[in-house]
């Protein structure tokens, strides 16, 4: 019994209790991301994809003497498998509170909902940084292995600004996933929309239009975040596009459309949504 004395005082003495520290909320949320079967398999499959991507790249290097893969390219290849599935964790981190109805517990243990949401957001950013760190480390290992296999000197060419932009891009996409989760509060809807916006549209639609139409080359960087940020991470569809004020404006505009707006709408939704 914390505070009820023998004479049954009707008030609870709160002086000895501190609010749950924010850091603890974050570590609880980090644990929630991996302690379910779904979370475990998602990370396990991602691990498998990483090994596969590393293996294929090394195989190509080993079979073809002409090919040299630099550390930069290696890291970029490693970024693909860690970016494919892990954003789902960012989405379910928030949507499972509704679909699994765990919000009933989460939001009674911490009635200030926004603290829970910000703690989740921090874990999402941590996850984004961790995926890039992993990609870089594996890229370096791959570079060393490739050099051992081929006998060529390893190429250490990772530039600081490209690295910074890659990190920013990854955090932005993870935030976008999280923001869609906030807006829809439903795993299937959020996951579907996220993959349409981040993967399907750019590859299937924008990419084709960009290749064939001049107007598309002007327009698409203003509406797709991936195209906008392309010139900064060395992955633009048109290598001749150099970073400029225009490209920076495109990054800002698409960032606002796809990340800031959904996030703001989502926060409002969570603050008011009832948990049934």
């Amino acid at each position: 019994m914390t505070a009820v004395s023998a004479d049954a005082s009707p008030t609870i003495d709160l002086s000895g209790t501190e609010q749950v520290p924010f850091g603890r909320l974050v570590s609880v949320e980090l644990r929630k991301m991996r302690d379910t079967r779904a979370g475990f398999w998602l990370l396990a499959v991602t691990g498998g994809l990483l090994v596969l991507a590393l293996g294929i790249t090394l195989l190509v290097v080993a079979l073809d003497d002409e090919v040299t893969v630099s550390a930069n390219a290696f890291s970029q290849i490693m970024t693909i498998p860690v970016s494919l599935l892990v954003p789902v964790l960012a989405i379910t981190s928030i949507t499972s509170e509704w679909s699994q109805r765990t919000g009933l517990v989460s939001f009674t243990l911490e009635p200030h909902r926004m603290r829970v949401v910000w703690a989740k957001f921090v874990t999402v950013l941590v996850l984004a940084v961790a995926t890039i760190a992993l990609a870089i480390v594996l890229g370096a290992i791959g570079t060393l292995l490739a050099s051992a296999i081929t006998g060529n000197d390893p190429v250490w060419n990772l530039e600081a600004d490209v690295f910074a932009w890659t990190l920013f891009q990854q955090m932005a996409y993870f935030t976008m996933a999280f923001a869609f989760g906030l807006v829809f509060l439903s795993s299937p809807a959020s996951i579907a929309i996220y993959y349409v916006v981040s993967l399907l549209l750019p590859f299937m639609v924008y990419g084709t239009l960009y290749a064939f139409f001049d107007w598309a080359q002007d327009l698409i960087p203003w509406i797709d975040f991936g195209f906008a940020v392309g010139p900064y991470v060395g992955q633009g569809p048109d290598p001749s596009v150099e970073p400029s004020t225009t490209t920076l404006m495109q990054v800002i505009v698409t960032f606002v459309i796809w990340i800031v707006l959904p996030f703001a709408v989502g926060l409002r939704r969570v603050a008011r949504a009832e948990l049934k």
């Binding site: 009707p10 749950v20 609880v28 765990t102 009674t108 243990l109």
Partner: protein, 305 residues
């Protein structure tokens, strides 16, 4: 203690809870009783800040729930035992709660012991739990932070008779140590045996409250159930004493108080084998009080025992 003052909750035109006022005192188990959809869950959700009130307020130990820091340490809440991630093990669910509340890891084992979930059971995932096991886990979760107030929504739902007896003992013991308990149910017999006080709610409004004795007091014609070695002579003795008697199972139902029946039997030296207030006195009251709020209309036969 929990104080609900003039609480009203509206969803559009629908009034889920209307001007509800009651108090749950420390050292007592308060039963919150009403048919499905009467507003019990809504009231409890407002208590813990999940649903904003339209009017009125709830304080727990003198505070709004929102203002209680680390509320799990003061108020144990179980709103829905199934509202946990199906893919987590029972132990992990408790471990997460303990971590968030800042409790030592050993607390998880203590609670698993308390609710009799074995090591094998606690390492299974929630989707494989029966409703009874979920309720036990939910009660363990509510008790994790050693709170002084417990708010439990339908905690006996899904428990087997042994489980209900166990929970009754647990809550009595908890209240005896000074804790405040509010538990809801739509089944009278679940609440009747454990609650010191009862609050009856129907269609969003409190229809009666008080101890079982208070609720039954002033109700005439509760009746008595009596069985004797010689039922026939008891029956004629009671009838000649002017009481209405009808056959009920092995014994008789008499429209009189137990003491009056006992007196007649003593005068005639008839050996009684059973003497008690007729079953269903409280149930009749419950059905009557909530009659206009029930989905099914209750006929007089339906109420008769």
């Amino acid at each position: 203690m929990i104080r609900v003052s003039s609480l009203t909750k509206q969803y559009g035109d629908f009034t889920a809870v209307k001007d509800v006022t009651f108090t749950c005192r420390p050292g007592r188990v308060t039963g919150f009783l009403g048919p499905n959809g009467a507003g019990k869950t809504t009231t409890m959700r407002v208590m813990v800040g999940l649903t904003p009130a339209t009017a009125g307020e709830v304080t727990i130990g003198g505070h709004h729930y929102r203002d209680i820091p680390n509320p799990g340490r003061h108020v144990g809440v179980l709103l829905d035992a199934s509202a946990q991630h199906a893919g987590r093990t029972g132990r992990e669910i408790l471990a997460l709660g303990a971590k968030q509340m800042g409790l030592p890891a050993g607390r998880v084992d203590e609670m698993l012991d308390l609710v009799s979930l074995s090591d094998t059971e606690s390492s299974r995932r929630l989707r494989n739990y029966s409703l009874g096991m979920r309720q036990r886990l939910g009660i363990a979760h509510a008790l994790l932070g050693d709170p002084s107030v417990l708010i439990l929504d339908e905690p006996a739902n899904g428990l087997d008779p042994a489980g209900i007896r166990w929970m009754r003992g647990l809550l009595k013991d908890y209240a005896d140590r000074g804790g405040t308990v509010l538990l809801s149910s739509h089944l009278l017999n679940e609440v009747e045996l454990v609650a010191d006080e009862m609050i009856l709610i129907g269609r969003g409004q409190i229809v009666a409250s008080g101890t079982k004795q208070e609720l039954l007091a002033g109700r005439s014609g509760g009746g008595t159930h009596v069985t004797a070695l010689d039922v026939a002579s008891l029956s004629s003795a009671l009838e000649s004493a002017g009481y209405t008697v009808s056959a009920a199972g092995d014994g008789l139902r008499v429209e009189a108080d137990p003491v009056q029946v006992g007196q007649v039997a003593a005068d005639k030296q008839i050996v009684l084998t059973d003497l008690r207030p007729a079953e269903g006195g409280l149930e009749n009251l419950f059905l009557e009080l909530t009659a206009d709020t029930q989905r099914e209309s209750i006929t007089s036969e339906g109420v008769a025992v």
